[in-house]
């Protein structure tokens, strides 16, 4: 608790500090490459035959995903707090790479916790983290995925709290993490709102984003919450809800308290956390950031899921039609857009958050398709 109170205080001070905000904005522009483009995907729009589909190109941010927005912000915050060491958890490896990058930039020591199963399917990102000077710690307890990596990172943090900042990678965990991560990611929605007004002279009709912990979705949605814009969060349907092998917390879970937050959770009747499955490591997680259940309860955001098969098909579709290979996580959002757009009229607008690029998944997808590289 004392560490969380200290973090909240430091963050609130930093967010009021104009010098800190200036430094962050400068790095967003010159280092991350923001603003990322809002791209009108003409060929996929034609292919789907309905609403105009725009892609918010977070895949073009430095390190290849939206994760850097938060990691860099928190690395700056850690430096300001006088912490010499960063730790982070990672699922797909994108947040691990982003946190390692932030640490390298600030000259901080860095350790990344990653489940052994995820290390296998995201071997490329493991090497990238090491290249960036981080130590990758293999977590081989529990389900050996993201949730276990978070457990280990929290254990490390409680042990080394005096010199270490925990760079939580998503809008999850105890307060103030969900707030901090949402705020650092909200740059996505702020830019998208301005960009769509410039391009179309009006707000979009619908936003679509994939939801693991839910940071890219919160980042896009946050700027539009007061507007008349429909929003859809897409969870990992895995092999289907009936199969039990999925990570669709709303479709298959119930309220629970886990890793310091109250939210929706995939659990058994005794409150033990169930194993999850998704083709994408970044969505393969038993719970969801606590603001999502709130937005769902007030009927502001709708949640649905896409299966592994649908995501894999969207992965191929976007590659072929637009020359953009999405991360498997983002492919879940593309899959949902492919269902929605044809039902909408041609003058309606959908923005899909293309939260990351798919290079990291190419090997894994080849393996699934039985292709030897």
């Amino acid at each position: 608790m004392p560490a969380l109170l200290e973090l909240e205080k430091s963050y609130l001070e930093a967010s009021r500090d104009r010098e800190f905000q200036k430094q962050l904005a400068h790095l967003q522009k010159t280092y991350i490459g923001r603003p990322t483009p809002l791209y009108f995907a003409e060929r996929i729009t034609r292919h789907l035959g309905g609403a105009r589909v725009y892609l918010k190109r977070e895949d073009l941010a430095h390190t290849g995903a939206h994760k850097i927005n938060n990691a860099l912000g928190q690395a700056l915050l850690a430096e300001r707090m006088g912490k010499k060491r960063l730790i982070a958890e990672t699922g797909a490896g994108q947040h691990g790479v982003a946190a390692s990058t932030g640490a390298a930039l600030m000259g901080l020591e860095c350790e990344i916790y990653m489940g052994s199963e995820d290390m296998q399917r995201q071997a490329l990102n493991v090497f990238r983290m090491k290249l960036l000077g981080a130590k990758v710690v293999e977590v081989s307890v529990g389900s050996r995925t993201l949730k276990d990596a978070i457990n280990e990172a929290l254990r490390d943090w409680t042990t080394n709290v005096r010199n270490t900042h925990y760079v939580m990678g998503t809008v999850f965990g105890p307060h103030p993490f969900p707030m901090i991560v949402r705020d650092f990611q909200s740059v996505i929605g702020k830019e998208a709102r301005k960009q769509i007004l410039d391009a179309e002279g009006r707000l979009p009709d619908c936003l679509v984003a994939c939801v693991g912990g839910g940071s890219n979705a919160m980042g896009l949605f946050n700027a539009f919450l007061e507007d008349d814009v429909k929003m859809v969060g897409v969870e990992a349907g895995g092999e289907g809800i009936e199969s039990g092998r999925h990570a669709a917390r709303f479709a298959g879970g119930s309220a629970g308290v886990f890793q310091g937050t109250k939210s929706y959770l995939l659990q058994d009747e005794d409150g033990n956390v169930l194993g999850t499955h998704s083709v994408s490591a970044g969505l393969d997680y038993a719970s969801i950031g606590p603001e999502h259940p709130y937005l769902r309860d007030i009927n502001r955001v709708q949640y649905t899921y896409a299966t592994d098969e649908e995501a894999l098909s969207a992965f191929g579709l976007l590659s072929r039609l637009e020359g953009i290979t999405p991360a498997l996580e983002s492919a879940h959002a593309i899959a949902e857009a492919a269902k929605l757009a044809p039902k909408m009229s041609k003058d309606e607008i959908v923005i899909v958050n293309l939260s990351g690029r798919g290079d990291k998944d190419v090997q894994h997808v080849a393996k699934i398709k039985g292709i030897q590289l």
Binding site: T158, T159, G260, L265, V273
Partner: protein, 258 residues
Amino acid sequence: MNRIEKVFKKVKAGNKKAFIPYVMAGDPSLERTAEIVLMFEKCGADIVELGVPFTDPLADGPTIQRAAERALKAGVTLRKIMGFVKELRHRSQIPLLLMTYYNPIFKYGEESFVKDAVDAGVDGVIVPDLPPDEAEGLMTRAGKANFATVFLLAPTSTEDRMKKVAKASKGFIYYVSMTGITGSRLLLDNSLRESLSALRRITDKPVSIGFGVSNPEEAGSVSGLADGVIVGSAIVKKINESAEDLEEFVSELRRAIK
């Protein structure tokens, strides 16, 4: 007065210290856990801390994580542990404290949890991932049933925090000997002494030290600083690695804590 409070009243009056050994319920079976609790009592334990297995034990190190995995594999749940305690009460009246993460209680329902625990003969609960700030509901229900709620303090706790935890704790205050998880290395230094004397100035509630007490020698030296000593990982390790030495080890711990 709750049975746990009575224990501390008695040890204080006798100028002694309470010995609180820990066992994970159902590791590897509930039958074995019953034998171990009875052995603890025979060796002179004052209170037994009974672990409830959970899939994601955030505050625990590898020894207790693995014990939880074995207990879960044996199908042990909070509900089964209630039945287990009810049975055990025919054979032992040693005060029992459940150590459980919050989600199993949340899923069980706070009200039913306290009611069933009291009915079964459980004397109190420690919930390492529930700070007093979030525990109002549980505390109210526990208070009505004279059920102990033990909260944790860490070496990083500020004076405000100490006041809050001391006020919320019923039975005793669990002082975590270091920053970190169960079973890590104990470091007895001046800051621990200073922090404990600060706590003593704030409260006259009993204080027990746990996390990282791994042998009789360490147990002896921390017992000088507290009213009770909790030993967990070291015992769990013995149970699974060299059970033949277990009883002797527990007796030595008892003798050292004075």
